[in-house]
């Protein structure tokens, strides 16, 4: 295993921190999760995430309110390489577990703190969760329904963004330490990590002074039409079935026309070139939707992909976890046992 021999003391909770340490654990690091008594903050539904977030980790329950508990944790740090938390600055300092204190007992220790808005600055004590950060950075405002109402995210994408940034930073710091013997403190603001995920639009704001428009089904990378999400035939009594189609070039259009059986409307002059198809996209979309409405999503995808057209069904949890042959081929789902002995699967 790539990270064999690396030991991590993991104080993280909720989602972002556990995602970061999961990547270390999956690659062979010994991750010791320090569990404290925390009320089920998100209720019983949260339990379902535990196998996926915390597989491959060890767990130690320590009462950090007790001096002897803190002493135990400090002894663990002495034989570890990395300490990671996602508290605000006060918490670790209060326990004497901040970087300055810990480097005295382990000079090359690496400490990563994954707080919401960072350890410095006027809003360092802001109370935040993933959805809060998604609101602050613009994701909620711009992921709108066609009626203009905010419509996303339905989950904490921010926690994944922060977790991936934290995992990469941890590895980079370990790499540096391996070469120089130096540890360090990493102050990760999940809001800053998430801001980077906005992408080139940020430069459009700062360079061109242009505020970003709400997302819609206009292509973001290459010109394309048809391009969008189209409703398909119901699967049993589930009518929430959709396919994404992206036809980017004249060659793809020609193949698309062949794949859908060359209906007469494709000969209409207003669909002759990519430029015209983009200009007349509303009408084009109606025609494409009429075709998809007569096909199962998976069937439509197969027809189009066999013709060399980017297309994918909008997979729900059941599609993803039980039906997708590609993820199964890659052994993406790994079986694990729950604490009660029952079987479940986690993502790879």
């Amino acid at each position: 295993m790539a990270l064999k021999g690396i030991r991590v003391v993991d104080f993280t909770w909720v989602v972002a921190g556990p995602v970061a340490t999961r990547m270390l654990a999956d690659n062979g690091a010994e991750v010791i999760k320090i569990e404290r008594k925390i009320p089920g903050y998100m209720g019983p539904r949260k339990v379902g995430l535990q196998p996926d977030l915390n597989r491959n980790k060890l767990s130690v329950a320590i009462n950090m309110a007790e001096p002897r508990g803190v002493e135990l944790a400090r002894r663990l740090v002495k034989i570890s390489d990395l300490v990671i938390d996602n508290f605000s600055a006060r918490v670790m300092r209060g326990w004497g577990m901040d970087y300055e204190s810990l480097r005295k007992i382990k000079p090359d220790i690496i400490c990563i703190s994954m707080s919401g808005l960072g350890h410095t600055g006027p809003r360092r004590d802001y109370v935040s969760y993933g959805p809060t950060l998604q609101a602050l950075t613009g994701f909620v405002r711009l992921m709108t329904d066609p009626n203009g109402e905010p419509a996303g995210f339905g989950y904490s994408f921010s926690d994944l963004a922060g977790g991936l940034a934290g995992g990469f930073a941890a590895l980079a710091a370990l790499w540096h330490r391996r070469r120089t013997g130096e540890g360090q403190f990493i102050d990760l603001s999940q809001m800053e990590a998430l801001t980077g995920y906005l992408g080139p639009g940020l430069l459009d704001i700062s360079v061109n002074g242009r505020e970003q428009s709400p997302v819609d089904w206009r292509p973001q990378e290459r010109p394309a039409a048809p391009y969008g999400v189209y409703r398909c035939q119901p699967l049993g009594d589930d009518d929430d079935r959709w396919i994404v189609i992206s036809v980017r070039s004249q060659a793809e259009w020609d193949r698309f026309v062949g794949a859908i059986g060359a209906p007469s409307w494709v000969n209409d002059a207003k669909f002759r070139t990519l430029y015209l198809r983009m200009r007349n996209r509303d009408e084009l979309d109606r025609q494409v939707a009429a075709w998809t409405a007569n096909h199962q999503a998976e069937e439509a995808m197969t027809i189009l992909q066999r013709a060399g057209i980017p297309a994918g069904l909008v997979q729900n949890g059941a599609d993803l976890c039980t039906r997708d042959p590609q993820l199964q081929f890659r052994n993406f789902w790994a079986p694990v046992k729950r604490p009660d002995g029952s079987d479940t699967y986690v993502s790879g």
Partner: protein, 404 residues
């Protein structure tokens, strides 16, 4: 700007970035931490240079903000990999590199003579990270995908938007972003493994799998309940957050903080309606009846001002937030105080621009801007002459033949 000699955490690593616009971010993550990343582009420039937006909306390969965002801190070498001589030069560079990242598509690198077998033979310590839409093998290996298709197939799209209405795509190219991050993490892990036995390895990264690996609740809850999670607009799946409309915009409500202080505030405004009954003090009750709870809170804030609500809520330690436009980030006092945005000079334009900066503050080995995004082939001479020892005459021939 700093010079190339640096104390970045990944200084000393050399990476050949053969990717196109779908995976540019992966190598940038290394470049930002001091690795020497050579962006290998076809003569004339990478396809990403043709993607909008452009500086002042004037399309030009050296003015694409899309390219700038994903290629900061890299050097550029133009090389025609369709030509035998171009591939030969690439192989020479691969001898001295730690990592090659490519996304030509399954089997394509092999067909070009740049596949794992060849590179491994040239340089046994090399790590090759191959990024493809669905992976190198399997029933979907030849399926085509862009970011939208990947968000669909990776499960990200289905859970955003309103029930009964079309799914709403994520803002930004999030399937690409997630794939690049997973690619960078896997590559660094492979380098750790190489440190022990001296042997590199091949990474076969499926962007669909990476996207599915960047979901929060979908997988865990499906294996728990056997039911797919549905769309619920901005109502977060854990049912403690929802956006609501106020007088001048939207706020994100939260009912996960201290209920008593929130309730007292709403009561003081005579807007608590039926929330005064004791069962609302229970966490689970609030989650179970979230729709009604947020409807009452929406009614409460409809004539209030966004920033006033949020300021007061945060004083009460309630994780409320303003639903902002990204433009507001550039005036955000917290980001400014922490120096998040950095000024990057573009001397050829005689201007400098604000870029988003470090994803985290590494105090021992700071993230930094080493160089602005490269112009097309800007470092051809430096790389081919200094690294491969080519003469001025050889360079002239390569240029004339359209190989660089």
């Amino acid at each position: 700007m700093q010079s190339a000699a640096s104390s970045g955490a990944l200084a000393g690593l050399r990476i050949l970035d053969l990717t196109d616009y779908r995976a540019h971010l992966c190598a940038r993550l290394f470049a930002d931490l001091g690795a020497d990343v050579i962006k290998v582009e076809p003569p004339g420039g990478d396809r990403g240079r043709r993607i909008a937006p452009f500086v002042d909306d004037r399309p030009h390969p050296d003015r694409s903000l899309f390219f700038w965002f994903y290629n900061l801190n890299k050097r550029s070498l133009t090389l025609d990999l369709e030509s035998a001589r171009g591939r030969e030069l690439l192989c020479e560079l691969a001898r001295g590199a730690d990592v090659v990242i490519e996304n030509f598509g399954p089997g394509r690198a092999d067909a070009m003579g740049l596949g794992w077998a060849r590179l491994h033979e040239l340089n046994p310590a090399l790590v090759l990270c191959s990024i493809s839409p669905f992976g190198a093998d399997g029933p979907y290996r030849d399926y085509l995908a862009d970011d939208a298709v990947l968000t669909a197939m990776g499960g990200m799209l289905y859970v955003n938007g309103y029930p009964g209405r079309p799914p709403v795509r994520p803002l930004g190219l999030q399937a690409y972003h997630a794939s690049s991050h997973y690619g960078a993490i896997a590559t660094l892990c492979a380098l750790f493994a190489r440190d022990r036995d001296g042997t590199g390895q091949w990474i076969d990264l499926s962007m669909q799998a990476a996207t599915a690996g960047a979901l929060e609740h979908v997988v865990g809850l499906f294996f728990q309940n056997g039911q797919p999670e549905r769309r619920r607009g901005t109502l977060h799946w854990a049912r403690f957050f929802r956006a609501g409309k106020c007088r001048d915009g939207y706020v994100l409500h939260s009912t996960i903080g201290d209920w008593t202080s929130l309730l007292e505030w709403v009561k003081a405004d005579d807007a608590a309606q039926d929330l005064i009954t004791p069962e609302w003090h229970e966490h689970d009750h609030r989650a179970q009846h979230a729709e009604h709870l947020f409807d009452v809170l929406d009614e409460w804030i409809k004539d209030k001002q966004r920033d006033e609500i949020v300021a007061r809520a945060q004083l009460l330690r309630q994780p409320y937030a303003a639903v902002r436009y990204p433009g507001e980030l550039f005036d955000d006092e917290q980001l400014l105080a922490r120096g998040y945005f950095v000024e990057v000079e573009h001397p050829e334009l005689g201007r400098s621009f604000r870029y988003p900066g470090a994803p985290c503050l590494m105090h021992g080995t700071p993230w930094r801007v080493y160089r602005r995004p490269p112009l097309v082939g800007e470092h051809n001479d430096a790389i081919l002459r200094d690294e491969l020892g080519l003469s001025r005459e050889e360079l002239a021939v390569l240029t004339a033949e359209g190989i660089i």
